[in-house]
Amino acid sequence: MSFPIPVAFRGALALALAACVACSRVEQAAPGGSAPAKPVRIVATSATAVDIVAALVEPGRIAGFPVQALEYSSLHAEPPQFAAIAKFEAYLAEPVLALRPDLVVIDPWQAPETSARLREAGVSVLALPEVRGLEDAYAALRAVAQAVGEPERAERLQGELEKRCEGLRERAAKRSGAREPLRALCYSNFGGAGSTAGSGTTVHAMFELVGLRNLTAERGTVGHTAATFEDLLALDPDLIVTSQPLKMGEGSSGDRGGASGKLLRTEPMLAGLRAVREDRIVALPAWLFASGSHELVTGAEKLESEVEALLARLEGEAHK
């Protein structure tokens, strides 16, 4: 049995669908709403957005950011010039509207209902593109720069970042000339289940910049995935990279590597891992480990310094 659908209804349906598709495209590409050419009350709603906005505009143009940015963004050191800026707990329409923003910069995964309420209230909302690597991070930087009216500043910043990346690559090439690149794996386990990151992640981008082989990516894994003890034992990496919380959960570990590092060092089943036996576990601050912005270059530099310290130690031990 078939139900005849009136032509007018079909047409309306097609129009509605087309409008939906068009709206979703607009959200990714442009702020929508009516943002001034140079907004002066910008609200950044995620750690990534805070990283980018704080790098492009003076603190006086930032109207607010989430408290979590004090753990997971470049503001983790709480610079005094940002101290007076309002902070909010969650990405909800009311606290954001209370800041009277003329531009709100959000991550692509943040609550679409809230973004819709903000747009309905006439606020311009810019959704960042998803960041899976360096090029995405530059694209996010340029998108925000366009929206805040600072394209030259973004160009300068990108130039500096590219130089830093060049330096990282050169040093990585030198290291790989002297010895085989380290076989590395990032690992996170807070008791629920272990996880790691393959290609198409910012951790992978950091590994590439430092010249580390990402064992998870070499297995063909894209994105984040579970990692069992058997995976770790089978891969037996030269180096394991974990994250170290800064303020939230402080005292969780009392040693390097946070809860994940502690688990790796104390789990008897993993005692045979080379990285455990030879203390080749390094910890990145959580704000860099989880960075979704251009700050992943800073993460790579931090990782590089940890790797160089490790290599120096290993060389020293070899000479003994």
């Binding site: 807070f190 008791g191 069992t228 089978a234 959960g249 969780s252 959580a286």
Partner: protein
């Protein structure tokens, strides 16, 4: 209870099937391990062979612990389900009704918060070094504590009404779920901790060790020991409490023993493997469909049947989808639900007489 030739034959079949599936399960993993290496590694665990290279030996041991743990968890959940269904005289009852799952989740969430550093320094310092046992211990205590609370509130003058138990269970579950949701919400911003809490709710059979196996098998053994004290009584209870009492059944004692045994086995299972739904509900039904209708038979059969069910399902999904593709809790919900529906529809006539 006397065992006849049919029972012995069934026991032998169960043992053979379990051994075969367990061996097949140890042969599947993310790393390439030859069957000879695996056998040598397993032999080395019992001092029967030379140990393999350290990491390969650890892999062989992890696979054996996983298989044993899966057997224990499946058996414990199924037995708990059988006991709960008998006590509630309702074929749709499962261990989560009396707060086991909710309590275990809450306990695990607290433990993950401690591991993640959300506790006073004094607690953190004293907990140092106990991270590995903290989550199973807290979830076990959470499950038992919640069940005890449900039983205490539902009991009046030493008697426990099944209806009151059910309603109190629902109410306590709601309270526990509220606290659990609050913890999840408050830890949302710390993605490492919130991810760990979420991952726990999917259940896991990965990275299990001897401690997990001992925990679940000890609880299972204690619960199995309760079967002779409740099996006949649960059959008589089917006709109603008054009739059972007239036939000499100490109803209050039967319910107490069944409740403690069910809570103990389910708590241990959830503590070591997280939330794995459906086993407790569906395995007793499968056993009924195979002809074991009375609790005197059903309670004995659900133990190996539960073990086979979870071991087989876990092995099948790892073979079909690959290692780590689906966690057991997710897999059970995805496959168990439609499978249960299919059985119900196909056997509508028999089901109506349960």
């Amino acid at each position: 209870m006397k065992l006849d030739a049919k029972d012995l034959r069934a026991a032998a079949l169960y043992a053979l099937a379990l051994a075969g599936l367990a061996l097949a399960s140890t042969n599947v993993g993310s790393s390439a391990l030859k069957a000879s290496e695996l056998l040598q590694g397993l032999g080395a665990m019992f001092g029967l062979a030379e140990p393999l290279e350290r990491n390969v030996q650890a892999i062989a041991e992890l696979r054996l612990w996983r298989a044993i743990c899966t057997i224990g968890v499946g058996a414990a959940l199924a037995l708990s389900g059988g006991l709960i269904q008998g006590m509630f005289r309702n074929a749709l009852a499962s261990p989560s009704l009396i707060g086991v799952t909710g309590g275990a989740s809450l306990g695990a969430a607290f433990a993950i918060l401690i591991v993640g550093g959300y506790a006073p320094r004094l607690v953190l310092e004293n907990a140092a070094g106990f991270d590995a046992v903290l989550i199973p211990l807290f979830s076990f205590l959470g499950a038992l504590g919640t069940t005890a609370l449900v039983a205490m509130i539902a009991s009046a003058r030493g008697r426990t009404s099944v209806t009151t138990l059910l309603l109190v269970g629902i109410a306590v579950n709601m309270c526990v779920a509220g606290v659990f949701a609050a913890i999840q919400f408050l830890s949302l911003e710390d993605w490492e901790v919130s991810k760990a809490i979420l991952a726990w709710t999917f259940g896991t059979l990965d990275d299990r060790k001897g401690l997990h196996c001992v925990t679940v098998l000890t609880a299972l053994a204690l619960s199995v020991a309760a079967i002779p004290f409740v099996a006949r009584e649960l059959d008589l209870l089917k006709a109603g409490e008054a009739d059972a009492q007239a036939l000499g059944v100490d109803v209050a004692r039967t319910k107490r023993i069944a409740l403690v045994a069910a809570a103990l086995s389910a708590s241990a299972a959830v503590a070591v493997a997280g939330q794995i739904g459906f086993v407790g509900l569906v395995v007793p039904h499968l056993v009924r469909l195979c002809g074991a209708g009375s609790y005197r038979k059903l309670l004995w059969h659900v133990v190996p049947a539960g073990a086979l069910f979870l071991l087989g399902a876990d092995l099948l999904q790892r073979l079909l989808l690959g290692e780590g593709a689906l966690q057991p809790g997710v897999m059970m919900s995805l496959v168990g639900g439609p499978f249960f529906l299919f059985l119900l529809v196909r056997n509508r006539r028999e089901v109506s007489t349960w």
